[in-house]
Every structure is written in C-alpha cells, then in structure tokens.
Amino acid sequence: MKDVVITFLCMAILLYFLLGGADFGAGIIELFTSTKNRSKTRKTMYQAIGPVWEANHMWLIIAIVILFVGFPFIYTTMSVYLHIPLAIMLIGIIARGTAFVFRHYDAVKDDMQWLYNRIFRYSSFVTALFLGIIAGSLISGHIDPLATDFYTAYISGWLNWFSVAVGFFTVALCGFLAAIYLIGETNEYHDKRRFIKKAEFMNVAAVVFGAMVFIAAQRDKIPLIDWVFKSTVGLSAIILASLSLVLLWYLLIKGKTKVLRILAGFQVTMILLAISYAHFPNFIRLKSGNAVSLLETAGPEKTIYSLGLALLLGSVLILPFLGYLFYKFQKKEE
C-alpha cells in the first residue's frame, strides 16, 4: 500500500504543478500583457479556467493531506524550517484565489476591478515563485534541523541562489503552461497569435532560467549535473524534453493547439522527473548530508493502508467526474 500512497503523492504534486501551475501562469501572463489587450486576455482566461478553477487547487490539498497523514515527519520538517516561504505562498494563494472570484462576482464593475486585477496578477507571480522556492529548497540541501541560530534555521534553508533560481524557473514554466493552454481556448486569430507569442516568450524565459538553475547549483555545490546527466532516467527525460521542445516550436509556428497542450505537459513532467528521479525516494535533503526518505518515514502500516484505501476509493469517485468536467467545458473548435 506504501507504493500506492507514494504514487498518489507524486501524481498529486505533478498535477498541481501542471494544472495549478497553469492557473498561476494565467495571472503571470496577464502581468506581462500590454494594457490594451488585458481585458481580452482576462475574458478568454475566465472562460478557460473558470469551471475548473477550484478543482485545480484541490491537488495541493490532496498532496498535503497525504503528507501529514502518511509522512508526518516530512510534513512537520517542512512546516518548521520552511515556515516563512510556506506562509508567503499561502498568502499568495489566499490573495489570488479570492481576487479571481471577487473580480468576477462583484455585481458592480467599477474601480474595485483595478484593485482585484492588481492583487490577482502580483499574487499569482508570488505564489508560483515561492512554490518553486519551496520545491528547490527541498533538494537544495540547505535545510538544517541542527541549526542553533535563527538565520540558518529559518532563512538560509530557502533563501539561497539555487532555491530562488528554481523559483523563477517555475514562474516561467507556469507562464508557458498557461499560454499553451490559452491558445486552444480562443478561436479568434489575433488572440491566438498573441498567446503563441506569449508561449514563445515564456519558453525562452524558461530555457534561460533553466540555465540559471544549473549555474546556481554549481555555485551552491549541488550535484544537479550528476543527478540529471549521470542517471539513465534523468538523461533520457532531459533528452525527451529537449526533443519535444523542437517539436513544440514547430507546432507553435503551425498553430496546432490540442497536441501542444499534451506536449507542454509532457515537457514539464520530464523536467520534474529529471530533477527528482536521482534522489527518489528521498524527499528532503538536509545540510548534514542525510536525507529524509518517503520510504523510511512513512507512518504506521495501518495508517498507510487506510490512507491508500481512501485514496483509491476517492479516485474512483473523483477521476470520472473530473474528466467529465474538463470534457464538458472545453472549447469546441469551430
């Protein structure tokens, strides 16, 4: 059952990166859209993510529940030593989640819209940035439970070159995912061109920040290159991601939308796989050189068993219903 639970955990994290990430990306795209096109972008975006908005964010809840029920030591280690970035990410989640709904459901459309929009854009950016910082911190090896001073214990664990670079890389990936998703949600030629431009821009940004991640890793003495290039799985994942990049640009220029989505999702999945496979099942790398492993810190057998059962039962109920939601509200090609 441990395997089932870990599979669900990985799936929930991946889906949150892809679906929640695309939601964050929508705000990020809006941030980088010229003022005259913003209201159009907003409209397309609302039609695209409105119906699936709440569902996309449930993956985070699923991941966090799996962690605190099944792997309490990992959950509490993160909570204590990454308290500050988690709190900032949560503020971002609260701000953007409410601003998104408020701006749509405010019965009077007036100057308040200006405020909602600002909050939504900036908090989308901040949330994605800190989600990335947290992910980077888990593998950066800067978290130090033995620390005695405030800075080492609660700040340097996440405020380091590597984590921050991963943060910006995540922002670019989210923007990229959103742009690709939105291309397929509009039938209007100029809109499509605009989103394609955005996707290209974000893709270049992702490549640039991706390079920064490697440079930061060198600087912080993190063996990222070894993880990615010395393991077969890491290497093949990165090769597949690079190959799909070429295909993706070809399709972007051609304007093929549905295949693009799958390809973009595939690409991000490969990147996550390349980075995380080398130290799986370790979840947190500590400064001492030790690691916190999913397999070793799993809760008692009965807990894992009932958690796995609950997840299996849940997915039987959730997945078909969710699939139908996505199917029903997808944009029909005209």
Binding site: I64, F68, V69, M78, S79, A87, L307, K328
Partner: protein, 439 residues
Amino acid sequence: MDDFIAARSQMALSLGFHIIFSCIGMVMPFFMAVSHYKWLKTNDEVYKNLTKAWSKGVAIFFATGAVSGTMLSFELGLLWPKFMDHAGPIFGMPFSLEGTAFFIEAIALGFFLYGWNKLNKWFHWFTGMVVGVSGLASGILVVAANAWMNSPAGFDFVNGKYLNIDPIQAMFNRAWFSQALHMCLAAFTATGFAVAGVHALMILRNRNAAFHLKAFKIAAVFACIAALLQPLSGDISAKDVAKRQPAKLAAMEALYQTEKPAPLLIGGIVNEKDKTVKGAIKIPGALSFLAHGDFKAEVKGLDQIPENEHPPVAVTHYAFQIMVGIGTLLLLVSLTYFFILFKKKPLTEKRWLLKLFVFAIPLGYIALEAGWVVTEVGRQPWIIYGIMRTKDAVTPMPGIAYSFYIFSAIYVSLSIIVTFLLYRQIKMVPVLYNKPETK
C-alpha cells in the same frame, strides 16, 4: 506578544474565520437546490433568478472558504508541528476522506455554476445537490477529527509513545457523533437565520418583495427546523461531555465545587482568582439533570481536577452562556414563526416578525463561534485531551506574533471585502433580475 499566545490566537482566528465560510458553503447549496427544484417544477422565473443570485453568493463564500481551508491544512503544521508529528497518522483518516469530499464538491460546483443551459437540467440540479451533500460530508469529517482531540481513541499511549495505531477507531471516537450532529444543526440554524434575515430586511424595505419573500421562506424553514432540533442535540452533547471531559463541563458551568445535586448557573461574573461566581441565577438540581439525567446526581467540580489541568473558566463559562442564550432565543423565534405559518397569516403583514428575523441575522453565527470557543478553550490546557499539552505542541520558530499580525490583517480585509461584495449583490438584485412581477 508571547509566541505561544500568538500561535493560539492565529489558530483561533483562522478557524473562527473559516468556520463561517464553510458553514455557508455547507448549507446554502441545499437552499439553492430547493429553489432550483421549484424553478424546474413550476417554471416560475423568480425561482430561477433566486437560484442564480444565491449561487453567486455561494461562489464567493466557497472560494473564500476553500483558500482559508487550504491555509488551515498548512497551519496545523506551521503552528503545531509536534502535535501533527504524532496526531497526523492517527486522526488523519477523516482528513483523507474529507480531501475526497472537498474535491467532489469543487468539481460539482464547477458544473453547477457554469452549467446553466449547457447540461441536462436534472443533471444540473443533481450537481447542485452533490455540492451540498459533499460539503456536509466534509464538515462532518473535519468535526470528527476535532472530536478525536477531545476524545482520543485508536492508539495506546505507552511511555510517551503512540502504539497500535488504528485510524478507523480514531475516526469513530466517542465524541464524533454528538459533535458532528451539533455542528450540522448549528450550521443550518446560523446560515438559515442569516439568509432569512437579509431577505426579511429587503421585504421590509419593499424591494423586489416577491423575490425576497420566496427566498425568505426557504431559508426560514430550514433555520427554524434546525433551531428546534438543536436543544436535543445539545442535551446529547452535554451528557457526553459530562462523561468524557468533566473539566470542560465544570468550566462551562463555572462549577468550582463538586455538588450533589448541582445547580444550573445562568449568567454571573466569574472571579478566577477567588474561584467564585457572583450574581448568577441558580436553578437547583438542573445541572445534575442536564449532565446525568437525574436531578439528584453528583456533578464533578473543578476541585476534583488538578489545578494545572483547569481550562480558563471565565471564557468557557461566558461563551457557553452566550451559546445557550442565543439558542433559546432562536428556538422561541422558530416557534413563533411556525405558529404564524400554521395560522396561515400573510408574512408581509407581520412586520414585527420580519424585524425579529433581521435582528437575528448575526445571532446564529455568534452562537456558533461561542460554541467553538467552549469546545476549544474548554479542552485547554490539552491539545490532545489527557495526552499532549498545547504548549508542548507549538512550533520552535520564534516571531509568530508577526505572523499573527499579518494574518489578522488579511482576514480582516477579506471579511470587509466579502461583506462589501454581498452588499453589492443584494443592492443589484433589482437590476440583475428585474422581472415584470417585481414592482
């Protein structure tokens, strides 16, 4: 501000905030379902407009409740890591099921809000019901997890270690049923009275009376039935608490000395230093009856409980008084309402009754928050009753006070914005749903 106090305050604030939104998210879908059903059956446009108007309110509340709930699932660890380290695997079962229920609720809400004219009309109605049922299930499951903190079960506590963990037994602990029942009825009472009151106000102001009267009737019936049932559930809870948590019961009633028979205290000023209560009305034997079903039974006072295990008496006692006082008042309002309905008198002529409902808008929520204060403060100094103390669970990170200030500012601004949005929604009813039958 002390870090421990800051952590407790932040938790209390987050829960207090989340509870209101989640209750609305739990209850409103049922009101919508009734109105939606009537629209489908009668083709009366007013019902369709009402369903749509309510659904906008639900969307606002659900989004706010969802993010504040996400916040809470992290906050448990951010503030109480040592508690979660041990408790997570034991009381996690209801949370993992709640994750499913909440997910289904979010999907169903997507269908419901965006499904007008896109789905089969009965499937559309059904998705609205799914929102309500899964919301209610979520509420019950979360309360079951809280009940475990009051009535720990499903493990053996040996030499400071948590052994033989059984999550199913933990979920079905002895307090889950009484607490969940009390909470569900409270959610219906509080939300029902708040919604009915707002519509009553609009009827009194003569704005779109046909629209608001239909809304009022649906909400009022739910509210009044729940308010009538609540004392019964309260009785189950009282007897349960008397058995399991005598310290909490003693604090609720500020019973410093063990008495046989024990009187019920109404009101009164608690002096925690002298351990006395001044100016309370005493009903002889009534507490014995409420706690044990026998007017002559002995009720354990705080004198039988070690001093370092006493909960804060004054806060618990006052909160309990507020809850019971308001509960009684709402019971009387409900009886009056049913009497008027029974007599078949037109509601619009009974302006005093409508005014009573307007007065009751915040009361249900005040009682509900007071009830949670009783549960949570009454459990102190324990986070897991009799097993782990709250102060031993708090995070080692210093500076929680700043976190508390920041989150207080966020919750206060959110409350202001949500109130403002609701005010605008209601103000715009004539514009958004103007139909010939309204004046």
